[in-house]
Symmetry: C3
Subunit: 315 residues, 3 copies
C-alpha cells in the first residue's frame, strides 16, 4: 500500500475486517515488523484520538513514532509553488516533505481543509505533495477531503455490534457553531457504500456532499423518515459543499435526541469525536448504553495498525 486515502486502498473489505479482528486479538503479534523503522506523524492541525491512536498503533508494531506539530514546534510552511518567499513562512513543502521522508519509513499527515478554495481542498493539495515528494507510504490522518482511519474504525465497530446481516446505517448531519470540513462524512459515505449495509444520508437541503463520495447512497432530506428502522445512527456536522465552507443552518431540531432515536430499531449511536454535546447529540443519547463513541474511538488503534502493518509488509 503506497498511500491510504480511499476505501479502494485497503482492497477487499472482508479481508481487511478479518485482519482487524486478528490485530485486535493480538496487538503485539506483529511487533517485529516495525523494528528499526520510524513513522513521522505530521500535524498541521490539532488532534487527540488520531495522534494517540496512531502512536499506540505504531508502538504495537514495534515502530518508533515521531510526532511533529507544524507551526507549533517547527517552521510555518509555504504550500504554494512559484512564490517569492518574503513573508512569514520560512520553509516550503517542496523541501520539508523530502527531508521528512529522508528521516523515516512511513508518514502520516493531518492537514484539514481550509474551506476557502474548493479546488485546492478537493485536489488534496497538501497530502498529494507528501505522496509525490516524500518517497514514503503516506497515511491520511484526516486530510482535506477524507478521514480513512476513522471510517475504517467505524466499519470495524459496525461489524462488531451489528445484529443483522445487512444493518441499516444512517449518516445524519447535525448542527455545530463552526464551519467544519467534509472529510469525515465523505469517508464514512465512501466506506459504507463499499460495505454490506443499507446506507442512507440525511441532511438539510444545501448540505449535499460531493457526488464522488455520495455515490449510489440514498439521500433523504427528512431526518425522521431517514431514521425509521435504523440500526446505526452516525451523526456529524459538516459545512456546505456547494456554497463552499458555508454554514447554511444551525437548526437545533437536527440535534440527535430521544425523539429521533425513538423511531429507529433501537439503533446504536456513533460519532467520530470530538463531539459538541447538546449541539450534535443530547447528553441523554450519548450517555446511553447504545452509544458506541468510546469503542469506536478505541478501534482507531486497530484501523491504524492494520494500515501501518500493510505498509510495513510492502516495504
Amino acid at each position: 500500500m503506497k498511500s491510504f486515502l480511499h476505501v479502494s486502498d485497503i482492497g477487499d473489505l472482508k479481508k481487511a475486517l478479518a485482519e482487524a479482528a486478528a490485530v485486535k486479538a493480538d496487538p503485539y503479534g506483529w511487533a517485529h515488523l516495525g523494528v528499526h523503522r520510524t513513522i513521522i506523524l505530521v500535524f498541521f492541525n490539532s488532534s487527540l484520538r488520531t495522534r494517540l491512536s496512531s502512536q499506540k498503533a505504531a508502538l504495537n508494531l514495534g515502530l518508533d513514532p515521531i510526532v511533529l506539530n507544524i507551526g507549533k514546534e517547527s517552521w510555518q510552511l509555504e504550500t504554494r509553488l512559484g512564490v517569492v518567499m518574503d513573508g512569514d513562512k520560512s520553509e516550503h513543502l517542496r523541501e520539508a516533505i523530502p527531508v521528512i521522508g529522508s528521516y523515516c519509513d512511513l508518514i502520516g499527515v493531518r492537514a484539514f481543509a481550509g474551506l476557502e478554495d474548493y479546488a485546492y481542498d478537493y485536489a488534496e493539495t497538501v497530502l498529494q505533495q507528501f505522496i509525490d515528494y516524500s518517497g514514503r507510504p503516506v497515511i491520511s490522518l484526516e486530510s482535506a477531503t477524507v478521514h480513512p482511519c476513522q471510517a475504517f474504525a467505524d466499519l470495524i465497530t459496525i461489524e462488531e455490534y451489528k445484529t443483522k446481516p445487512r444493518p441499516k446505517v444512517v449518516l445524519s448531519w447535525a448542527p455545530h457553531p463552526r464551519a467544519l470540513p467534509q472529510a469525515v462524512p465523505n469517508s464514512f459515505a465512501e466506506w459504507m457504500n463499499a460495505a454490506d449495509v443499507d446506507f442512507v444520508i440525511t441532511h438539510p437541503e444545501g448540505y449535499e456532499l460531493d457526488p464522488r463520495f455520495v455515490g449510489g447512497a440514498r439521500v433523504e432530506y427528512d431526518q425522521m423518515k431517514a431514521f425509521e428502522g435504523a440500526d446505526f445512527i452516525y451523526a456529524k456536522n459538516w459545512s456546505a459543499v456547494g456554497a463552499y465552507g458555508q454554514i447554511l443552518s444551525k437548526d437545533p431540531s437536527w440535534t440527535v435526541g430521544r425523539r429521533q432515536m425513538a423511531v429507529t430499531d433501537d439503533a446504536f449511536f456513533m460519532h467520530c469525536l470530538p463531539v459538541r454535546r447538546n449541539m450534535i447529540v443530547t447528553d441523554e443519547v450519548i450517555d446511553s448504553p447504545k452509544s458506541l463513541v468510546i469503542p469506536e474511538a478505541a478501534n482507531r488503534v486497530v484501523s491504524a495498525q492494520v494500515v501501518m502493518k500493510r505498509m510495513l509488509e510492502s516495504l
Copy 2:
C-alpha cells in the same frame, strides 16, 4: 494501586522508602514490567521536572510514555457537565478521558487549581473524572490540591540526608509575585505528618492551609522561631485558602536568607522548583552546599518510578 494522590495510597512509608532505595540502586531492574505497556502523561499546564522525570521513570520500567499537552496540541476540553457546547471548547472530558484510557495502561495527569472556586478545586474535579471514567490507574502529576510525586521525592531526599533519627522539618511560606496553588504545601504537610519527623509549618496569618492537610502539625506564625534548631527548611509560596486564591502578603522579610538559616541547626534547604530566586530564597542560600534542590529534583524519577512500578505490578 488504583490512584496516587495521597500518602495513604502508598501504604507503609518504611516499605515505600526501602523500595525507593532499591529502584534508585538499580533503575533498570524492573524494565520487563512495562514491556508492551503505555503510560499517557496528560498536561493541562506547563511542566519541566514532572514531565521529564515521569518520562524517564516510565522508560526505566520499559513503558512507552506518550505526552499529551492539552490545548497546545489537542482540543480545548470542556469540564462542566450538562452544558450546550457552543463555545470554544470542542471536546468534553467525558469523552476524552475514556478515549485516552482506551489507548494506554496507566495515566498521569497534571491539572492545576484554577484558584477561583474552592469547592471545584478541592473536590479535585478534573482528576476525579480521570479516576472515575478512564478505567486506568491514575497518578496526580500535581492536581488541584496535591502533588504526591513531589512530596514522596521530598521524603526520599530527607531520608537520604538526615543525620538524626527524627529531624526537625520546617515548611515555610515565602513571597511570590503571582497567586500559586496549595498543592505542594498540602502534600508536603500530609507526607511529613505521616513520616517520622518533627514537623512545623510557618506562614503569615491568613495563609493557614486546609485543616485536612495541616492535620496535627504545629503551626508557628513567627518564622524565626519556627526555624530554630531546624534540620530541613522547605520553602514554598502559596496563595490563601480562606480568602481563596488571594495574595495577602509579599513581605520580603519572609524570603529565606542567611538571617533565617543562621538560627537553624545548619539546616538543609529544600524547594520543589521552579523557584523564583531572591523572592523565595536568596542566591546565597540556594547556591550554598546545604541546598538540596537538585538531588530533590533528581529523586522525582525515583518516586515516580516506585508509583508506576506498583501500578504495573497490580495490573
Copy 3:
C-alpha cells in the same frame, strides 16, 4: 567528547568522515550503545530538520530521545544571574540545567542568537551554562554562534559528491527578509577552513563574519568573481556582525540564480534549509539536478549519529 560546538571537538576530519560513512552504511550497527540511556533535546527555538534528525540519530543508536520545547510546554527560563525573579520567568537556567542533566545521559540544545548583544551571543552564554552546570556531554543543535551538526553534514555531503581531490567551495551571502544569526556561516567557514578544499567567502561589504570563524579563508566581495570555476555553492543569509544583527542589504542581485551558476564549473548547489525560495535561490537552481539540499539534510542524521556515538563511547 564532552561538548560539540567546534570542528576541533571532532578531532581528525578524515577519521570523522570515515566514521560517518560507516554509520551511514550500517545505521543500526551501534544500536547497543544507547540502551538504557537517554538524550534530552532542548529547543529554545523552532526546528524541523534538527529535531527530526537528532531524534532519528538517537533512535538508531538505541537511545531514548526526549524532546523539550522551552516556553511552549515548559516554564520560561531566566538566563541572567543575580536578578530578583519577580517578572514572567518562573525558573532559572541555574536550576533547570542540572535538573535536566539529572534525568539523562546526553543533552542537545538549540538556542539561537538574540542578535541584540554581541558579547552575550558570542560568549555562547546559554550553551556554556549547559556545559558548565549539566554534568553531561552537550551538543549544539545550533546555538548563538555555531551549528556544528549542520557543518559536519555539509562536509559529509561535499565528500560524497566531489569529483576533484580539492574542490572549490564558495560560501555566498544571499538576501532574506529577516535578520538571521551567523551560526550557519560561522560553522561552515570553520569546517571548510579545516577541510581539504579551496574555500572562498563572498558577501556585500559590511557583512564580514567574525575573524575567529573567517580564519584564513579568502574573502571576495564580487559574487560573480567568487563563483568562477566553483564546484560547490553554499548559499546562506546572515545579518551583519559589525553593525550587530542589522540588515544592511536586501540586494536581489545576490539571489543565486542561473546567471551566477553559469560561471561555475557546473557546481552543486547547497543550503542548510529552511530556504526562502526566490530570495536566497531561484526555483530553477534549487529544483535542478545539481541541487544537494535534500541529500545534505539527510546527512544530518549521519553527523548527529557520529557525534552521539562518540559521546556514548566516552561515557
